[in-house]
Every structure is written in structure tokens, then in C-alpha cells.
Amino acid sequence: MSRTLLDISRLGTAASWPSIASEVNGYLASWIAAANAQVSAHQLRIASAPNPNATATDSCGWRIEATLSQRTPGGAAAVLILEVSITGTSFLIRPGIGNTEPFVGSDSQMGWIFPSSETGTSSGAWSTTPLPFTAQLGWSLAPGAEYFLFAYTQSRFTNRQAVPLLIARDQVSGHWILAATPPSTTDGLRAVCWNRRSGQPSGSRTLLREPNTSPVQIRRPAELVLATTDWSYYETANEPAQFWEPLILPSDFASLNLSSAAMSYYKPADGNEWLAIGAHGLLLRTKDAPAPQGGTSP
């Protein structure tokens, strides 16, 4: 049992973002230390931690970097970036690529390089109204399936449900995925990773799932739809055809084709149990299906 679940819910009157973020950061730092020791090929770093004394107008959040064993076409180690911050009531997520070698193309905005032109910033709003704050931390050091997760909901409205941090191993490449979802119904997930097969950064802005008009279903594995647009190390015209592998979250995640589901709980017939996090259909496994009973007869 390598999964840890921690409820950090509290009354809304006790839920200031700097205090919450600082508490989460403590768990995150411990987990990163353990994860770096275990996954030595890739190194995570909290480049910037939340300031517990941030005022209402200060930017408060994280800048997290992942240095992968993957090499860029220029030969440098690929670096992923995720910034998550709240300033006042503005909640901003920026996924990025941290390499300094020049990219061919023009998808650098204000010096920031997104994993694809369709995977840029994502934003939402933090409510300063003292709404009940229900929050979940989860992490795992299961080899190959490591993850750290922070999710909260301030109310049943989907624009108050977020996954500010999701750091997980891609089940195909073994690279870290840095992802986050702002409290917003219209602007979803942002994720950045590096595709082993194409040798290119890959972004995502949505989970692969059926539309909500289909029968409601829990789908595994949780796969991120790749955003592979004209961004690349190549010229924006005439880049070679590229082959990609899918982006798959660890087995403790699944997708659900319902929104407005944060902190709902699902007990499907197969015995797994799932907690819904964020407003975009991501599920976190809280209980594994029991092992099959009985044995094979001779």
C-alpha cells in the first residue's frame, strides 16, 4: 500500500490560499525528495515555493521544474516547467518548456515557451468568500507510478473546483508529467511532458473521455489527448511527419465523462473506488479492487 491520501479540508474562514499552499508545499517537498531519490533519471525541483506571508495582491504559488533524462534535439536535458499561482482572486496556470536553446518557430510568448500553441496559459478564479474548503492530497511512490496530487473544491459549482498540482509519471515514457487544472469550467487542464518517440515536447489540455452525452463511464487508463500543433523544434512549415506515443497517467487515475463531480465518490462493480477531483473528469483511486479470489484448479 504505497498510496497516501490526506484530507486537508477546512472551514472557509480558515482557508486562506497562502496558508493552504504552504501546508501543501510541506508535503510536496517531502514527496519530491523521496521521488528524486527513487527516480534518479529525472529530477524534480521546486524552483519557487508559495510565500506563506503573501498579501492579497502578491502572487503566491509554485514554479516547479522537472529535468528529464530526455535530450532535446540540441542535446540539452529537457526541462519542463509548471507555474501555478494565485494573485488576489486570479488563478493562473502556465505549463512550459524550460530549455534555453532557441526554438525555431514563434510560439514563445513573453519569453515563455508553451508545449504547443494550443496549450498555453489557463486561468480561473479563487473565491475569497469563506466557502467550505474541501481538499484532498494524494501521493504515491509506487515504482513507475509515482504521483503527487492536490485537489480542492470550494463549492459544487464547477468554477470552484481545481487540481492545482498533478505531478505524475507518464506510463509510456517514464517522464514526469506536470499538470494542473484551474477552477474553471471553460478552460481545462494543462499538462506538459516530453514524448520519447517523437523527441518533442507534448502538451495536453484535456483528458481523453467520452462526451457527457454518452453513458457515464469510468475509463482506464487515464489518457491525456496530445496537443501536437505546429510548435516544434522544426520550421513551422514542412516539419517532418512525427510519430507519437500516448500520454498515460498512472493506474491510480481514471477519467469520467461527467463534470461538476469534484469530491463525488464512485464505487463501480469491479471493486475499485474513486474520488472525483477537479471539474474535468479526473478520478483518483482511493481503494483498489480486491485481488481475485480462489486459484486456478490443476
Binding site: I8, R156, S214, I218, T286
Partner: protein
């Protein structure tokens, strides 16, 4: 050699879809399908799902041309057909120039609804069927305006048990680039289902309004168009093509029976096929090719406002067909393409159905008064244990800090 890809060229000025000449494209397709059917029908796993030909070009008595195939099934077999009407002197069904009308149809029905007679141009009639409009751009290169049009019939098939598929593609050459309508129909077996599945992809262009992406799984009860996972798996306008796609499941069979707890069977696209969008890019509109160290990707469909379809040929892919069948690599039309993204997908490993609204059996809502008490995750927090975890044996499960926590409130 269970996986084979081969083709035959039909020259401009003489090729006709609307012909029952044994050397014509329709009868060559019929022959290729019969050979495939004979091979897969002989496999033990297909004893209850034999394929057969109900009608072919040879049965045409009037101006309707095409095929009707029977898909075997242990409960009830089904028919699936593609028929095109030949041009008339009035031009009402002329295809190849105006493209504003189409006489083609892609249809499905239960075999039991079929009356085998000579109506409908020799193809018989159905008491209950589903028809989708479809069409070919050029169906007769002997008529005025289409004499420069040639055609290629490309067949890909796999007779490996459990992975059976038969794919025919009609590609046209020459003529107006905007009018091509390279299309593809695939019949295949999918893990998780006993019957045959089908996908037909006809392109849509500014001159070709009859887009068709017909996904059919056959359950023995009826055909079903399958859910949207195909489009959901592709980034919009991303010029992505994907394999390993789950095309959905037979929810219409399970839900009315209350069988939500039964894991639904998946329909899974054959691995060599990549479906996606190539609306803008690529060096060729319909003869694209991407060469890799371990194989070649060939474009079966064409640039489309809807879907395109490509086929993966691993190095060494060949065929054992007699002339005039030939290797697809002998064709000079292929053009190396760029700016495309091929994503090798991973089919889902498990689907579990749950109710859309809270039922407190499978689905527990968050943050309602009742929900919090019943909630498997949050409910125990209300039991007044004072925090510090969920108790013996599972110290790391849902451990709750002892201070600072007031929601959900303890009672």
C-alpha cells in the same frame, strides 16, 4: 503471410465501377473478398460468424452496382452493403463533375428483413434498413468528362485469428484534384465482441458534401453507431491520426437491461489503421506516404473536412496474389508527406458504467448533507474519531491532521 497489402490498377478511359466484367473493379473486389471470407470462415473462432456474399456486381440487372455482404452472428446475421447507381442520360446521378448529388448508399439491415428478389436493380429489398448517403467521385471513365480518370483498388487484409480484417480502398487518379473521393471500408473482428464490426470512411470536401464516417458494430440485435471516442481522442485541427482507438461499446444492449455492472465490450480499431484529420497539410491530397525506418504509412483516404484514414505497412509487408494484383509500392503516385502526427494509441483496459446521478450504490455525491454522511471518503470523518486517521490497519489511508480541520464538521 497473414497480413497482406496489394492493389490493382484500372486504366483511365476504360475503368468502370458500373460493370460486371470479371476483369472490372467490382468483380475483382468481389474475388478478393470471397478469398478473405473463405480464409477466415475456415478459422475455428469464426464458426458462428461466417462471412458470405449476398450480392455482387454480377447480380446487377439494372443500373445499380455494388456489393451486399452477410455478416454471420450466433444470434442473428446482418447485411451490409455499398451500392452506387450508374449515370443516366439525364445526368441526374452522374458523379464526377457536379458532385452536388450522390446516388451512393451505405446500408445495414438484419438478414431476416431481407427479401431475395430482383428488385432494386437485382439487389433485393429490405423491410427495415438503415441507409447512409455516400458516393464515389468518378464511377465510369468511359463517359464524357471523366475519360482521364483512372482507378486503383487497394486491398489490405489480415487473416490472423482474432485480428481478422478486410479493407478495400478505391483511389482515383488524374482529373480534377478537388473531385477525388478516395474512400475506404473495413470489416474487422474486435476483441470483446463476437460479431463483425465495420467502419467506412468517405471524405468530405468543398465539392463533396456526402461525408460519411459510418462506424458500425453488430451485436446480433442491431447495428449501432458507436460513441464519440474517435473524435475525442484527437486534438482539433492538430493534423493527428491515431491508432489503437476504442470505438466504443454496445451501450444500447446493456443499458435497457439494467446491466450497468457488466463491463461493456470494446470495439477496437485494427492496429494498422490510423484515423484522423488531414484537412490542410501534406504534400499530396490523397497519395500521401510517410517512410519510417521500420515501415511505411500510406494514405487510404484523402484530405477531408471530416476524417482521413492511413494504413501502416511494417517493413517486409508483401502479398501472395497473382497478377494483375501487384505491390502497392510499385505505384508511382505516392508522395512523401510531412506535417502530420501519427499517434500510436493504447486501447482502454477497462470501462465501468456508473449512474449519472447519485444513487448511493455506485455514485456518491459530494458536499450534500446526506452525501457527506454517506460519502465513503468523507463520511468516516464525521464519526467523531477526532482525526488522526481511519483506524487500525490502514494508517496511511485518509489520515486526517488533528488540527485545523473543520470540514466536514464532526458531530
Amino acid at each position: 503471410m497473414t497480413y497482406q497489402v496489394f492493389c490493382q490498377v484500372f486504366p483511365a478511359g476504360s475503368w468502370k465501377w458500373t460493370s460486371e466484367d470479371p476483369a472490372s473493379i467490382g468483380m475483382r473486389l468481389d474475388g478478393a473478398f470471397r478469398a478473405f471470407a473463405a480464409a477466415v470462415n475456415a478459422l475455428p473462432g469464426n464458426a458462428s460468424t461466417p462471412l458470405s456474399v449476398v450480392r455482387s456486381h454480377a447480380d446487377a440487372t439494372a443500373n445499380r452496382w455494388g456489393y451486399t455482404w452477410q455478416l454471420g452472428h450466433p444470434v442473428e446475421p446482418a447485411h451490409l452493403w455499398f451500392h452506387v447507381e450508374s449515370p443516366t442520360s439525364s445526368g441526374a446521378t452522374l458523379q464526377g463533375e457536379t458532385q452536388t448529388t450522390s446516388s451512393g448508399q451505405f446500408g445495414t439491415a438484419k438478414a431476416s428483413t431481407y427479401t431475395s428478389n430482383t428488385s432494386n436493380g437485382g439487389y433485393g429489398s429490405y423491410s427495415n434498413s438503415v441507409i447512409n448517403s455516400a458516393g464515389l467521385a468518378y464511377i465510369d471513365s468511359t463517359i464524357s468528362g471523366a475519360t482521364a480518370i483512372g482507378a486503383i483498388l487497394l486491398i489490405a487484409k489480415d487473416t490472423t485469428p482474432g485480428r481478422e480484417f478486410f479493407c478495400w480502398t478505391l483511389k482515383t487518379t488524374g482529373g480534377n484534384d478537388e473531385l477525388h473521393r478516395d474512400c475506404c471500408h473495413v470489416l474487422y473482428k474486435s476483441p470483446g465482441t463476437s460479431g463483425w464490426c465495420s467502419i467506412a470512411i468517405f471524405p468530405r470536401t468543398s465539392k463533396q458534401p456526402y461525408e460519411l464516417v459510418a462506424l458500425h458494430g453488430y451485436s446480433g440485435n442491431r447495428f449501432g453507431s458507436l460513441p464519440y471516442a474517435l473524435s475525442a481522442s484527437l486534438q482539433l485541427y492538430g493534423h493527428q491520426l491515431r491508432s489503437g482507438i476504442s470505438l466504443g461499446h454496445y451501450d444500447f444492449v446493456l443499458e435497457p437491461q439494467g446491466l450497468l455492472d457488466t463491463p461493456p465490450p470494446f470495439i477496437q480499431l485494427p492496429a494498422p489503421l490510423f484515423i484522423g484529420c488531414t484537412s490542410i497539410r501534406g504534400a499530396s491530397t490523397h497519395f500521401g506516404k510517410v517512410t519510417r525506418p521500420d515501415g511505411v504509412m500510406l494514405q487510404l483516404g484523402q484530405r477531408s473536412l471530416a476524417f482521413d484514414i492511413w494504413l501502416w505497412l511494417p517493413s517486409g509487408t508483401s502479398h501472395s496474389q497473382a497478377s494483375p494484383w501487384m505491390s502497392v509500392f510499385a505505384l508511382s503516385y505516392w508522395r512523401e508527406c510531412n506535417e502530420l502526427h501519427f499517434i500510436t494509441g493504447l486501447p482502454p483496459q477497462g470501462l465501468q458504467m456508473v449512474t449519472a446521478t447519485a444513487d448511493f450504490i455506485r455514485h456518491f455525491p459530494a458536499l450534500s448533507a446526506v452525501g457527506a454522511r454517506q460519502h465513503p471518503q468523507q463520511g468516516p470523518l464525521l464519526s467523531g474519531s477526532g482525526g488522526g486517521g481511519s483506524g487500525g490497519g490502514e494508517p496511511t489511508v485518509n489520515a486526517r491532521p488533528s488540527t485545523g480541520l473543520l470540514w466536514p464538521r464532526g458531530v
